[in-house]
């Protein structure tokens, strides 16, 4: 029995039965033939498969083929750039002559582009749509899918915002921010509905489509202005039956990790900081000598918590089994995957529990296509996953904070008597946090179901069909774990131990459920798709209704109509009209619905006679789109911002002798009855081209968006006595350019792929509510959106560091600290009033969201070997180092590894200002002193693969076997001048480190 048959038995019940049902066949016969194009030239490399059978072959150099089939079988001939040809076997004995025709550019079988409730060939697209085939993503085990997208699509900016296993979130923005009111995240739709996709397995996904122009977005009405990412999952095909097994094993290593100071250096710097503050030293020379000699580890502890508690690497692995295939009646795709990401914490294996941070995920998907009657097809899709996140009982954040902020001399990790070390000031012992404070587990379960039924209504009107689409998604989170408390002992000068905290026995934490959310979406309508000679018409209409139930708040509801009409003539001229009438219950009855129309047109100019015979230009399409899209994701926390309401309150004021606060009632924020969505007017003009025998393809877009009705804070006087909801009075513009270029060429047995994409997107605040009396240089209007994180855009401009008291005396006074000293940051007197105060802050454009970003890839194939490299980078980005260089608290005196580079009388050209424990206001003020270029270029992925020759795999009865090595996040180039990761400068210093992943993998196909 073939391996595939064994698998088919065990894989899944329904497809198995169906496959089994096909087992009784007449005896097969051998069929031979030749494939020719319209000029009667043989076509080599044409794939031939037998529908519903696990049989495939390829034509040879002379276009000849031999295949085993029986009468009634359908042979399918397909090859890139050719139209697919179907042949039903009539006579088993005959020598077949198969004629195939070349497809038009961008209209072949690989050129499907998924749009809302429809599929188009790339040639038919008139808007700015970029598509990524999931098979081109780097092959690494990654807990967050979005991570793999960086640099892959023009107009798509992805950056990492978390690093903890299972929580390595990313932020995605299409083009750039255009709203200052709320999140600027695109709408992410998995198979048509809003679903979290970053936790899906990459093998579930067929393609990722970024919709950026108004004509593509108008369909989604009031929620689409930030763009849409359409994720389409894989489906089975009756042509081929496939079983694949993917295995990836790898390790993750921190790219940057803090290097804490040793006790001697820490103590010396702490003394210096005290001296700067006018205090005597805390550490005597004897103590410092004790740290230096390291003779008494208990009296003079010298820890390196970071080194002690971080492993060099953590294991990560992923296993995926998938099957796809089917018959004319039923087609299936099913996928089962397991992902496990280990944590980097050392010493986390307590005897009774594991407190290392970690992430495990199980994904399951089955997508079925059922031909119920010749007219009715039903898609039944089920996607589910279980995620298990684990962390120390104290939480990862607390543990990491302990490691990163506890000075090396705080206490011995373990005292002489085996008790945990600690002190009055530092009561958190990292070893005890891992081994004596329990753990925490968070299990997330998600189930997503979709029914999508299509009924042909050709009997009424040729080309008409009706569609009903319904989804049922539920999710929930279960939190459990072990709880325990520990005690630490401070070692006095004479060796006496003082206890802090109280140890408790290991127990269970009270388990809780959270985030139990149900979402239902319903769409229904008609499709009309018909050709009249050279005219082609495609019309789609839908009614939509959706609801999200969250037990902690009132349900979110949406309702609307969407329609789209596409017309094309002679595969040369294209036009679309799209519109939606969409409503949401976030607005006042009567003001809930908005109308969002858009138009688009395209012209394949290369089809015209004057270009038709060009040898350089093989294809050129010009296209443009204009229209309106809305955004209602504006960060409104209240459900009824339009209504004048009151709330019951607990009351904060007590009377009488019971001292109990009285119940109360209070007025809510004053309503804005006119509150509405943001409206974006988007213009997109672009072109697609193929050059030099189709070896070079180019796509480029110019875009210009004008966004209006952005919510902005009202400037009511405080004498009103109440806060008011924001009003729709903001405006921004976003304009720029995005483009991609790809080059593919064969040089004998060597195939080379080169490509890159670039996006420039500049935003600007045109209108925002600001006080009229604000000085012009402090106003936001005219500046860009966003800021550097933890930093105000209104900042001081620095002028170096004061080198002497004389320099301070002759400079204007700076009113940010009690006393200025040499070594403090000097600021510029912007308004020339002889005093440096808050009037000397100016509005700036510094931003940690880049305005330009790019990606590139180089790939090659030589015989059985393949190679690929993906790079990515950003420009126009700024980060700040203050959070790192000034990190700390009173407890550790703000002394950290950057303190060695602080200004002293003997280090006048130091990078950072003097040390100090109190009165730090002057040096911690927001200023350009701490800003650095955040531009970087990252070598995102390098992959080397080897495919086992087919003569070997044939003998093993497997279809193909590829083994490969991949390195992810290998290298980066930046000009920050400090050992930090440019994307997440604080990772590894106050949070979990940024990691690189090295993977070995295999891909096995039956």
């Amino acid at each position: 029995m073939k391996i595939s048959n064994i698998l088919s038995r065990f894989f899944i019940l329904i497809p198995m039965l169906l496959v089994q049902a096909l087992a009784q066949d007449p005896a097969p016969a051998t069929i031979t033939g030749v494939v020719e194009d319209i000029n009667h030239q043989p076509v080599s490399g044409m794939n031939i498969s037998v529908q519903e059978r696990n049989i495939e072959t390829v034509t040879d150099e002379q276009g000849k083929f031999t295949v085993t089939a029986v009468k009634g079988d359908v042979l399918i001939f397909d090859k890139k750039d050719y139209l697919t040809y179907y042949h039903t076997v009539v006579n088993e004995k005959s020598e077949l002559k198969i004629p195939v025709a070349k497809s038009l550019t961008y209209a072949g079988m690989e050129d499907d582009v998924f749009i809302p409730f429809g599929v188009r060939k790339k040639r038919e697209i008139n808007g700015a749509i970029s598509t990524l085939n999931a098979s081109t993503l780097p092959q690494i085990p990654s807990s967050s899918l979005t991570n793999l997208f960086a640099g892959q699509l023009p107009g798509l900016n992805v950056w990492q915002t978390g690093t903890l296993p299972g929580r390595d979130e990313t932020t995605i923005v299409l083009r750039n921010r255009a709203s200052f009111a709320g999140a600027n995240v695109p709408l992410v739709l998995v198979d048509g509905v809003v679903r979290d996709f970053s936790d899906m397995d990459v093998n579930e996904i067929q393609s990722i489509t970024a919709l950026k122009d108004a004509a593509s977005l108008a369909w989604y009405g009031n929620r689409a202005a930030n763009g849409v990412l359409l994720i389409t999952t894989k489906r089975g095909s009756a042509d081929k039956t496939r079983f694949t097994y993917d295995m990836q094993m790898g390790t993750q290593q921190p790219t940057v990790l803090a290097k804490p100071l040793d006790s001697f250096t820490f103590g010396s710097l702490y003394n210096r900081a005290l001296k700067n503050d006018g205090f005597g030293p805390l550490y005597s020379q004897e103590t410092l000598d004790g740290y230096k000699s390291g003779t008494d580890a208990y009296k003079y502890p010298d820890n390196n918590f970071v080194k002690e508690f971080f492993k060099d690497n953590a294991l990560v692995q992923r296993h995926v089994l998938s099957a796809s295939g089917g018959s004319k009646a039923v087609r299936y795709f099913t996928n089962l995957s397991y992902f496990n990401q280990g944590g980097l914490f050392n010493h986390a294996d307590a005897p009774l529990f594991n407190s290392n941070v970690g992430y495990r995920r199980y994904n399951l998907r089955t997508n079925l296509d059922i031909q119920v009657t010749p007219l009715l097809t039903v898609q039944l899709d089920m996607g589910g996953r279980i995620e298990d996140r684990r962390e120390p009982g104290s939480t990862s954040a607390t543990f990491l904070s302990t490691i990163f902020t506890t000075p090396s001399n705080a206490f011995p990790l373990v005292n002489e008597d085996g008790s945990y070390g600690g002190s009055n000031l530092f009561r958190s012992n990292p070893l005890a946090q891992l081994r004596a404070q329990g753990n925490r587990s968070e299990v997330t379960r998600v189930l997503q179901g979709t029914v999508n039924a299509n009924h042909k209504l050709d009997f009424w009107l040729k080309g008409l069909s009706a569609n009903v689409f319904y989804t049922f998604d539920i999710q929930g989170r279960y939190i459990s774990g072990r709880s325990q408390e520990y005690e630490v002992y401070e070692r006095g000068a004479t060796g006496t131990l003082t206890r802090f905290g109280t140890q408790t026995p290991l127990g269970y934490v009270a388990a809780t459920f959270a985030d139990n959310i149900r979402t239902n979406e319903f769409w229904t309508g008609f499709d009309y798709d018909r050709n009249f000679g050279k005219h082609q018409v495609k019309i789609t209409t839908r009614y939509q209704q959706a609801v999200t139930f969250d037990p902690t708040r009132l349900e979110d509801k949406r309702q609307g109509f969407s329609g789209r009409a596409s017309y094309s003539f002679n595969n040369r001229y294209y036009a679309d009209v799209v519109a939606s009438y969409s409503g949401s219950n976030n607005y006042m009855p009567g003001k809930q619905f908005g109308f969002f129309p858009a138009i688009a047109a395209g012209w394949v100019i290369s089809e015209e006679s004057f270009l038709k015979n060009s040898t350089i230009l093989n294809y050129l399409k010009l296209r443009a789109a204009y229209g309106k899209a809305g955004n209602n994701n504006t960060g409104e926390t209240s459900k009824f911002p339009y209504a004048y309401l009151y709330s019951p309150t607990n009351g904060s004021y007590a009377f009488g002798t019971s001292f109990a606060a009285q119940a109360g009632a209070s007025e809510n924020t004053l309503p804005n009855p006119n509150i509405t969505w943001e409206t974006a007017y988007k213009t997109d003009i672009g072109l697609d081209a193929q050059l030099l025998k189709n070896s070079i393809s180019i796509s480029a877009n110019y875009f210009n968006e004008h966004r209006k009705n952005i919510l902005t804070n009202p400037t009511n006087s405080s004498v009103l006595g109440q806060t008011t909801y924001r009003i729709n009075d903001g405006e921004t513009s976003l304009r720029g350019f995005e483009g991609s270029i790809d080059f593919t060429e064969k040089f004998g047995a060597f195939t080379l792929f080169l490509g890159g994409n670039f996006t420039y997107a500049k935003n600007k605040i045109l209108r925002i509510n600001e006080s009229a009396g604000l000085a012009d240089y402090q106003k936001q209007a005219g500046h860009n959106l966003g800021a550097v994180s933890d930093y105000a855009k209104l900042m001081l401009i620095s002028d170096g560091i004061f080198q002497s008291q004389a320099e301070i005396d002759k400079s204007p006074p700076q009113r940010f600290a009690g006393k200025l000293q040499p070594g403090d940051i000097k600021y510029k007197d912007i308004n020339s009033d002889g005093v440096i105060d808050n009037y000397d802050r100016i509005m700036t454009d510094y931003n940690d969201t880049p305005n330009s970003y790019y990606g590139f890839h180089i790939g090659g194939k030589y015989k059985s070997f393949d190679f690929s490299l993906i790079g990515q980078g950003v420009l126009g980005r700024t980060i700040q180092l203050r959070t790192l260089a000034m990190a700390g608290s009173n407890n550790n005196g703000y002394i950290n590894q950057f303190s060695t580079q602080a200004w002293t009388e003997t280090n006048l050209s130091a990078a950072y200002p003097r040390l100090g424990i109190s009165d730090r206001g002057n040096n911690t003020a927001d200023s350009d002193f701490w800003l650095r270029s955040g531009n970087y270029m990252r070598l995102k992925s390098i992959e080397l693969g080897y495919t086992i020759p087919s003569n070997v795999t044939d003998r093993l009865n497997i279809r193909s076997l590829r083994i490969y090595l991949n390195g992810f996040n290998l290298l980066n180039f930046n000009k920050i001048g400090a050992d930090v990761d440019p994307e997440m400068p604080f990772a590894g210093y106050n949070s979990y480190p940024y990691v690189r992943t090295l993977t070995a993998g295999l891909n096995l196909k039956f």
Binding site: G280, L554, V719, G818
Partner: protein, 542 residues
């Protein structure tokens, strides 16, 4: 089949999006229910400035005055007041309630609640359980109190007497100080006719007629003071004296016999000296106030440190100021034979405390020159640190916030009467009542009006120490340059080998020294309010 589905579904409920805000209340529900209406009214109380050390990490206006310093001089709320950077007190901080913008916003929010309630109070179908008359009286009282807190800080402010909607034009000009005082007095007059002489036990903490009269006394005292009475109009002082006398004539309030337990009276936590307090349950060792007062040795951060300037105001037991050569004051042994209120208000070196003695020398338990958790002046504020608070411990104490107590009324009377009629017998009597309580000798007879004024100012500083009066008194007296912009001192304590102590007065570090210019007698209107408005005129000098 499909068509049927489409029709049923597409034609479905056209009210699909109209989700009713069931759990939220609308105006009719709130004022249609007398219980809820009364609760709405009570909400107004929570906008009063109702605790000491209101700023971040337990700092307060006392540390901006000459009463105390705060170690956390980087706290912008304190730092900006100390350094005269009042604009930055409100701008660029998103911290808890500060004394300028924080109070400006908060008090107008409270005034809005009152205005809303007053516009609805006659529509509510009150039941006998709710004392409708009292509720109305309380609303007038609170509005008067809140406007007083505003004019105390800013001078004349915008008078708002209705709850505006968000779309109405509320860019209004400021009223004069006199218009505001008249508005406040009118509200007080209304309140007096509506309030009761006493609240029952369940309503203790609500204003009474006495509280209304006490507010009138304080309002008129401030209105008669130099800042608002530059010509020294005697009729204003007369009105202030009469207002204080009205409270005294009620014969309802008496001085609590034990000065040292004024904030935490034994028993149920109240005393007949209280005219109005904020009811708080007995407080545990909490961060808000208590924890900042005790030093590292007491378990907390010890940032609230009385100055030597304040300590020097306490007379000797014989009734003579320490500056008097005959007083017997010994700088080498400064803590003997002082006004008993010194021992009640201040923790000093060698003071008996929690079964031991305070150790304020470097290396002693209660002072360290290398830690910011210890005093900068070698004093702690005993008044704010009930002795039961030890670490670790779970003891509680009341530590009431006093809006008005009878002691203040006596001081108000003495100050106003001295200005209106000179140091007559009633002035002596009022001050001597306070001195008698703590067994201090009576004031010497034959004082001139100016001498008496000085003694009253001193008595006020000592009697009301740390009770949130001094800073605002200094502003209304226009004494900031004299009292605040001078050098701030602390004490240096050295423990000698033989166990004796050497004391020397030392000037505090530069970060504890203050700035006070003439324009600082009033706070600036928050800068962003002026920037938003076309009509608000800023106070001069800002």
């Amino acid at each position: 089949m499909f068509v049927c589905m489409l029709i049923t579904l597409a034609g479905c409920d056209d009210k699909f999006l109209n989700v009713a805000p069931d759990v939220a209340l609308n105006e009719d529900k709130v004022f249609g229910d007398p219980v809820m209406a009364a609760q709405f009214a009570d909400n107004a109380y929570s906008f009063l400035p109702d605790d000491y050390l209101r700023f971040n990490e337990g700092n307060g206006v006392a540390q901006a005055s000459d009463e105390a310093v705060g170690i956390d001089v980087t706290n912008p709320m304190l730092y900006t007041l100390m350094k005269g950077l009042y604009h930055d007190h409100s701008a660029f901080t998103t911290l808890a309630i500060n004394d300028i913008a924080g109070q400006y916003d908060r008090l107008y929010a409270g005034i809005r609640v009152v205005n809303k309630m007053l516009s609805k109070v006659d529509e509510v179908k009150w039941k006998p359980e709710q004392n409708a008359q009292s509720i109305k009286g309380e609303m007038y009282y609170l509005r008067a109190f809140m406007y007083f807190e505003l004019i105390k800080r800013f001078g004349g402010v915008v008078l708002i007497d209705k709850a505006y909607t968000a779309i109405e034009d509320i860019d209004l000009p400021r009223n004069t100080y006199e218009e505001c005082v008249a508005f406040i007095l009118a509200d007080i007059a209304q309140a007096v006719t509506l309030l009761q002489i006493e609240q029952d036990a369940a309503n203790y903490g609500r204003p009474t007629i006495g509280a209304a009269r006490a507010l009138k006394s304080r309002t008129l005292l401030y209105a008669a003071s130099t800042l608002h009475n530059p010509t020294g109009d005697v009729t204003k002082w007369k009105a202030a004296a009469d207002a204080a006398k009205e409270v005294m004539a009620m014969n309802k309030y008496t001085l609590h016999p034990k000065y040292e337990e004024l904030l935490s009276p034994s028993g149920n936590g109240t005393t007949d000296e209280y005219i109005l307090i904020k009811i708080k349950r007995p407080r545990t060792w909490d961060w808000a106030i208590l924890s900042v007062v005790s030093p590292g040795s007491g378990g907390r951060i010890g940032t609230y440190n009385p100055t030597q300037n304040h300590v020097d105001l306490y007379e000797m037991k014989n009734g003579l100021p320490i500056t008097d050569a005959k007083s017997g004051y010994d700088p080498a042994n400064p803590y003997v034979n002082r006004d008993p209120r010194f021992y009640a208000n201040i923790l000093y070196n060698d003071a008996p405390w929690q079964d031991r003695k305070m150790q304020m020398w470097d290396g002693g338990l209660d002072y360290s020159s290398t830690s910011s958790s210890y005093t900068a002046t070698r004093y702690y504020a005993r008044k704010m640190w009930p002795e039961v608070y030890k670490t670790p411990g779970t003891q509680t104490a009341f530590l009431n916030f006093i809006f008005f107590r009878y002691g203040e009324i006596l001081l108000n009377y003495a100050e106003a009467q001295n200005e209106a009629a000179g140091p007559d017998a009633t002035v002596y009597d009022a001050i001597n009542q306070l001195r008698k309580r703590v067994n201090m000798p009576e004031l010497p007879t034959g004082l001139t009006k100016d001498q008496m004024r000085a003694r009253i100012y001193n008595e006020r500083a000592v009697e009301l120490a740390f009770e949130d009066n001094r800073w605002y008194d200094i502003m209304r007296w226009k004494k900031g340059k004299e009292l605040v912009a001078q050098k701030m001192y602390g004490m240096n304590v050295v423990k000698n080998a033989n166990g004796t102590f050497t004391y020397s007065k030392v000037e505090l570090a530069g970060s504890f020294q203050r700035v006070y210019e003439d324009h600082m007698h009033l706070y600036p209107i928050p800068r962003n309010e002026v920037q938003k408005s076309k009509k608000l005129v800023q106070n001069p000098g800002w």
